[in-house]
């Protein structure tokens, strides 16, 4: 049952009663499912410890706690490091010490730095904005969103506001074409990941979280497991080139249907689920042959032009007269034309998938090398739709490497209405980005797998809570960003490139770097 509620950030949203705390917030702590979470620092406790409890008392982050009459192993991943070190200084026995974790250095890469990965885990565990010692806003790629910063007005400028309600909701149907006007409470929804590429508990967790935050998650191209039916109103059925698992029923039961023409991580390559991952469950969901690789061709065999595309859209609209149509495309150089073509074809949402995304299953040669970077594609399309006089009628969604709330806000400032998350959600579920999603039975952490045993590594409730927490942490950040920009709604931020600066074009870089995100 849905009901109006108020989160502790003071905004209204609907969510299931059962999921809500007494204070109306939906956040609940969802600690790592592994005994030892990977941490930035190692906190060592020697035999000299007298279990006096001083460390527990002084640590503001809950690193230390009792385990019965003893002290538990420090929860190192919560420790902020030498900038605090209060427990070490105050330990009467000198039994505590702090060193960097060598394992931490091996985690991540330039796009997804170790700090980004662990701060995403932090957000998913606590639902809060990570502490400052973690760089949770940008990565280290040297390009893309990592070279963009917000230009926040100084606090005393008067624009800064903390009063009143800030809206982060966006409209998915702006066409006023008689189809339902659907809004989502946060400017983001979950991207398509199929049953086959990920496990059922992960799919369910995503759907539950989407329901709590009144947004959506997408089936990807691998069928619509029956278990998802309680969440029909928050699921997007994807119609992709292989048409796997797509039936009238799966089109009719949802409020949004997405056509996937291409993925930004691998435009022109179609899809390919390897034989090993085609378990009996996967094969029966797709009605294919167990153990044989499954191809999604590129492109749709029935769509070779915009008028074919229109016919395609008309077909889905005929089957489900209340559905909104989203069109997911990669970002070729003429992406602006594709967007306009989709408008004329009657789509409600144009979803641009840029080149930074993609799990381990997308070939490295394709990732980042074919499609246009999303930060170029968004303003190109946004401006062109304005020139064509149709921007107000289309919802523009961006994806492909949205890692942080700041990435999302930047995408919106560049001209998108909202974003789609893929990899980020997997990271929130403790993906370590090892990049072996496709091989064998899939993921060692039980995420990108359909192996029955591996799938059991993830509990649905836990997965849902992690994502709810992630969304909450991002929501807090959106509200903060909007407050600082003096805006009342995320919709005001759309296309406000004047709120951004690019580090390449800034002379006094130091000042900017000190600024946030």
């Amino acid at each position: 049952m849905n009901q109006e509620g108020t989160s502790k950030t003071g905004r209204n949203f609907r969510c299931e009663d059962l999921m809500r705390n007494k204070d109306g917030s939906v956040v609940k702590r969802a600690p790592s499912r592994f005994r030892n979470a990977i941490a930035k620092y190692i906190v060592r406790r020697t035999q000299g410890c007298s279990v006096c409890g001083t460390c527990i008392r002084v640590c503001p982050f809950g690193v230390h706690e009792y385990a019965g009459k003893k002290l538990a192993r420090p929860r190192e991943h919560l420790c902020i490091g030498p900038s605090c070190a209060r427990c070490i200084k105050e330990c009467p026995n000198g039994a505590l010490s702090l060193v960097s974790n060598p394992l931490y250095e091996t985690l991540g890469d330039c796009r997804w730095t170790n700090d980004l990965i662990t701060s995403t885990w932090f957000e998913a565990e606590t639902g809060e904005v990570p502490p400052n010692h973690m760089e949770y806003r940008v990565g280290d790629s040297g390009g893309g969103f990592d070279r963009l910063r917000f230009r926040f007005p100084k606090e005393e400028s008067g624009k800064y506001r903390t009063d009143g309600e800030v809206s982060t909701s966006i409209q998915l149907n702006k066409r006023r074409d008689g189809r339902p006007e659907i809004s989502i409470d946060i400017p983001m929804y979950g991207g398509g990941m199929s049953f086959g590429s990920i496990s059922l508990p992960i799919m369910l967790g995503r759907a539950k979280a989407a329901k709590v935050w009144n947004t959506f998650t997408c089936t990807g191209e691998g069928g619509y497991p029956e278990e998802l039916s309680p969440y029909d109103d928050h699921v997007i059925t994807q119609v992709a080139t292989g048409l796997f698992g797509v039936r009238e029923q799966t089109i009719q039961r949802v409020r949004v249907v997405e056509f996937k023409y291409a993925q930004g991580a691998k435009p022109g390559l179609g899809g390919h689920l390897l034989g090993d991952k085609v378990t009996q469950d996967v094969a029966s969901m797709r009605e294919a042959v167990t153990g044989s690789s499954l191809f999604s061709p590129f492109p749709f065999h029935s769509v070779y032009s915009v008028e074919d595309h229109k016919k395609h859209v008309d077909w889905i609209k005929e089957i489900n007269p209340r559905a909104l149509i989203a069109v997911k495309v990669s970002t070729p150089t003429d992406i602006d034309m594709v967007a306009v073509g989709s408008y004329y074809a009657g789509a409600h949402i144009i979803h641009l998938d840029g080149s930074y995304g993609g799990t381990g299953a997308a070939p490295d040669i394709a990732k980042k090398n074919i499609a246009m970077p999303i930060e170029y594609a968004i303003p190109k399309v946004h401006k062109f739709l304005i020139e064509e006089g149709i921007r107000e009628e289309m919802t523009l969604i961006a994806s492909g490497g949205i890692r942080t709330a700041y990435d999302a806000a930047k995408a919106i400032a560049l001209g998108a209405d909202g974003v789609v998350l893929g990899t980020t959600e997997l990271v929130a579920l403790e993906c370590v980005r090892c990049g072996n999603c496709e091989s064998g039975r899939g993921c060692a952490r039980g995420i990108a797998t359909t192996d029955r045993e591996l799938s059991q590594l993830v509990d649905v409730e836990w997965a849902a809570q992690r994502l709810i927490n992630l969304y909450s942490a991002w929501h807090t950040q959106f509200v903060d960003i909007l407050n600082r920009l003096g805006m009342k709604s995320i919709q005001e931020l759309v296309g406000r490139t004047d709120c951004l600066i690019h580090l390449d074009y800034v002379e006094n870089r130091i000042e900017v770097d000190r600024g946030e995100g």
Binding site: L243, E248, Q263, L269, E287, A288, H301, K311, W315, P321
Partner: protein, 874 residues
């Protein structure tokens, strides 16, 4: 050969002058558009422009009203107000003025100094373009000049460019071409603001185009009664820009031809570069323009025969290339090596109308790309007058013929033959050419494929003149007795057999009288109505010998009778005992729950929009939700999505479809049954889950793409890419063949353990309704490619399909288990189409064979690409 080459080079060199100071080549198309609607027809007698009107309206959903154009070839001199000599010999230069002011300048700089104008006029138009509903932009004023190049100008041109070796007339052609290029460059391409451009300049042909729909061209320039031998029309779907120019619309012209195009090139820049190296620079920046520039280059500069031009455009590849005779291979290899960079890559379909003044011919040409990625249908009708048609959708052909037949009884609303081209193939070359030859009064129409093979039409048959009153035939008593007997014993099949046997001896009058009697009987009561519909439907669906009568005319009589029976059904709101109820677009709001005894809803679909919230497919869903389960829907004119949206568990629902239904029919059905009593179009049965689909004709492209199941029977052929990515348990019988790519990535499990399969019979009916084998059961180079499950059972007694055609499958011997599996489907096939297992399918060259000798099984093999370790999956 060398002389010809040097001549070509001299023409090319002469053009270099034109290209001075031009900017670099455009790196991409500036005008972008999607697929479009195209239609063309050629008639042995000149017909008026109003007949391009209806088909153009039929294809509205393939355009968006931002560009429409028509071209016409072969006029009457009287109508144009010039002498026959002027019509045949003068260039008919048509200049579109977007800015009235520049006419004087064009005349002063490009017309008067170089040309002798025999006749000049402004094309008549209606007074105010706003009188045409929906036309938002004023079409250009068009000035037409009948002109020849002045002698001294031509001499100078020949001298300056060393063109002495070609005939002066061809040099004159080139002068006109270059002169128009200069006009376009100065008044269109180079300007920020576009002021004027040359629409066309060939002999005895013209092009007109506007920002609007094609049929608005006809109305604005008052061409409803203007006659021509060839008409082509184009509905454009441009997707960029808020300001459109008619210059970007189709058709485009080289010299004596006009080309319309449906599709999109991937190698636009490469083609431009190829053209630039040959002294040609595109000024309108669309695919279509460069297509006709290519055609003109190969035609007029290189002097290639049409076959080689087609080869340069759509190269023959793979198995098809290997199947060519050695001599052809050598030539084709040379053509491909020389011109592959200029060969348009991507989905495209061209219709070209041209005048061949040197050979006194006029032609209508349709060419499809090698992969057949755009829809295309060809049709021909023979008789006292002949007509050839090419179109993106069949209903546009129907609309044209319908329009012609309503004005001139020599035309019949149904063609003698409909077919698709197989792109880049060794069988037909993916192109067909309709030619009218000779002088006026004795024009005859022929149709050949790329290789010159003539499309045969049964000889000696005549159309039915429907204006003649029906009289009582001499055999009336016998027929009436038989009718009464069969009606009273409820035996439609026996009546059908009777008529089928008798019809070859009957004249049209007898048959029409018989149909009239059936119609009378149908009005007696529901039982009789059911029999009447059944027997007429059988006559419509089956093939039989009609002797001297045209099959098209017979079908027309049958369908007219059926439609009369349908439309005389009591309207839904009326009180009546009948279980039949009628509804149409005008009375759609009367739709209600079936009352007691009401069972069958007859819907006249003709006025429903082809798609959108109010389309007939949604109307059927609405009726279904109210409780209707049995539908007869007729009068289809391309309306799409029939049967879609009813959702799962729709067993017991049946829809009988009459007319020309549109794309996506039965896509997604999950339980219900649909019978299409005609050929069907593209994208049939996509993602079909369960249920039954019967098509008493051909099916179009991407048939059953991604299907999961269902029982499907097709009487005729399937076009390209049927059953791609099909999974689960589809059981399909195709009695004809497929163009190519049948069951690519088929994943339908083990057919012997409940999985899916396709039975491909590779047969056809001859003009006498007899079953014969097709030249090969499967002509394509790709059968069952990358398949991992399911099977193809192909009737191939002569073992004509080769291993090279398979890529992912292997031939295995048909076992008794296989035969037992497919037998029930062949039995149902026999019931539906009258194709006998014992007497037709298992008989080879007159001798009865065992199933394992006739049928071959193709099954999947484990391919390393399917079980390997690299991956790209979402």
């Amino acid at each position: 050969m060398e002389r010809r080459l040097s001549l070509a080079n001299r023409i090319i060199e002469s053009r270099e002058r034109l290209l001075r100071d031009l900017p670099p080549l455009p790196s991409c198309k500036v005008e972008v558009e999607g697929g479009c609607g195209v239609i063309g027809f050629i008639s042995s007698i000149p017909v008026s422009g109003r007949h391009i009107f209806e088909p153009s309206i039929q294809m509205h959903n393939r355009g968006n009203g931002k560009g429409g154009g028509i071209a016409a070839v072969g006029f009457s001199s009287k109508e144009l107000g010039v002498t026959q000599d002027i019509l045949e010999n003068d260039y008919m230069i048509q200049v579109a003025l977007l800015d009235q002011e520049v006419r004087q300048q064009i005349e002063d700089e490009y017309i008067t100094p170089f040309l002798n104008v025999d006749e000049g006029m402004r094309l008549p138009t209606i007074d105010d373009y706003r009188d045409i509903e929906g036309l938002k932009t004023k079409p250009p004023d068009v000035w037409r000049y009948f002109a020849r190049v002045k002698e001294e100008v031509l001499e100078r041109f020949i001298d300056e460019n060393g063109l002495h070796d070609i005939s002066p007339r061809r040099a004159e052609d080139e002068f006109i071409y270059q002169n128009s290029f200069n006009i376009n460059r100065k008044f269109y391409a180079s300007l920020g603001e576009k002021k004027a451009f040359v629409l066309s300049h060939g002999r005895n042909m013209m092009i007109l185009k506007i920002v609007g729909y094609a049929e608005q061209v006809v109305r604005y320039y008052k061409l409803e009664d203007f006659k021509a031998h060839i008409w082509i029309a184009h509905q454009r779907y441009p997707t960029k820009g808020r300001v459109w120019h008619p210059g970007g619309a189709h058709p485009f012209s080289g010299l004596d031809e006009a080309l319309v195009h449906n599709g999109d090139f991937a190698n636009y820049y490469s083609v431009c570069e190829y053209l630039r190296q040959r002294g040609i620079f595109p000024l309108f920046l669309t695919d279509t323009e460069v297509s006709i520039l290519l055609f003109d280059l190969w035609n007029r500069v290189y002097n290639y025969p049409l076959e080689y031009i087609i080869e340069a455009m759509a190269p023959t590849t793979e198995l098809d290339f290997d199947s060519l005779p050695p001599k052809k291979k050598r030539i084709y290899r040379a053509i491909q090596a020389t011109h592959i960079h200029g060969s348009p890559d991507g989905p495209w379909f061209f219709i070209i109308a041209r005048n061949e003044p040197y050979k006194h011919k006029m032609q209508l040409i349709g060419i499809t790309d090698t992969s057949m990625l755009r829809p295309q249908v060809f049709a021909i009708q023979d008789g006292e007058v002949q007509i050839g048609l090419i179109c993106s959708e069949k209903q546009a052909i129907d609309a044209t013929l319908h329009s012609l037949a309503s004005e001139d009884k020599r035309f019949c609303p149904i063609a003698d033959r409909y077919w698709n081209a197989r792109g880049g193939s060794h069988t037909d070359g993916g192109a067909f050419i309709f030619t009218i030859d000779g002088k006026d009064g004795e024009r005859g129409l022929t149709c050949t494929d790329k290789f010159g093979k003539v499309i045969e039409i049964p000889e000696g048959q005549t159309h039915c003149d429907m204006t003649i009153e029906v009289t009582i035939p001499s055999s009336n008593i016998l027929i009436e007795d038989k009718l009464k007997e069969c009606f009273s014993t409820n035996n439609a099949l026996s009546l059908f057999e009777y008529i089928k046997d008798k019809i070859s001896g009957w004249d049209y009058n007898t048959f029409r009288w018989c149909c009239g009697k059936i119609q009378e009987l149908a009005s007696i009561g529901d039982d009789y109505k059911g029999i009447a519909i059944e027997v007429l439907t059988l006559l419509n669906d089956r093939r039989y010998d009609t002797a001297k009568k045209k099959q098209g005319s017979i079908l027309h009589i049958i369908r007219e009778t059926l439609y009369k029976i349908f439309s005389s059904t009591p309207i839904i709101s009326q009180g009546s005992d009948s279980c039949y109820r009628f509804i149409d677009w005008r009375r759609r709001h009367l739709l209600q729950t079936p009352r007691h005894g009401e069972k069958i809803l007859i819907i006249n679909a003709s006025d429903f929009p082809p798609e959108g919230e109010e389309c007939d497919a949604r109307f059927i869903v609405e009726a279904f939700h109210l409780g209707w389960k049995r539908f007869i829907v007729y009068g289809y004119k391309g309306q799409r999505f029939c049967g879609c949206g009813l959702g799962p568990n729709t067993e017991g629902v049946r829809i009988d479809v009459y007319g020309s239904p549109g794309d996506y029919l039965a896509s997604g059905i999950d339980g219900l049954e649909i019978r299409v009593h005609n050929s069907a179009q593209d994208q049939l049965g996509q993602i079909m889950k369960r249920g039954k689909l019967v098509v008493f004709g051909d099916v179009g492209q991407t048939f059953m793409y991604g299907a999961k199941g269902g029982e499907v029977y097709v009487l005729g052929n399937a076009a390209g890419r049927p059953l791609i990515n099909a999974v689960g348990r589809p059981h399909v019988v195709i009695n004809g063949t497929c163009l190519d790519y049948l069951a690519e990535s088929f994943m339908a499990g083990d057919p012997l353990a409940g999985g899916g399969f396709v039975i491909l019979n590779g047969i056809e009916f001859d003009s006498k309704g007899r079953i014969q084998e097709q030249p090969t059961p499967y002509p394509g180079g790709n059968l069952f490619s990358l398949a991992s499950g399911g099977a193809i059972y192909v009737r191939d007694p002569h073992r004509k399909i080769r291993d090279e055609q398979l890529n992912g499958g292997e031939f295995v011997r048909l076992t008794p288990l296989d035969w037992n599996l497919i037998l029930p489907y062949l039995q149902e096939n026999e019931r539906l189409f009258g194709i006998s297992i014992e007497d037709d399918l298992l008989v080879v060259d007159g001798i009865k064979r065992g199933p394992e000798e006739v049928y071959r099984k193709v099954r999947a093999i484990k391919l390393s690409v399917l079980t390997g370790v690299e991956d790209f999956g979402e």
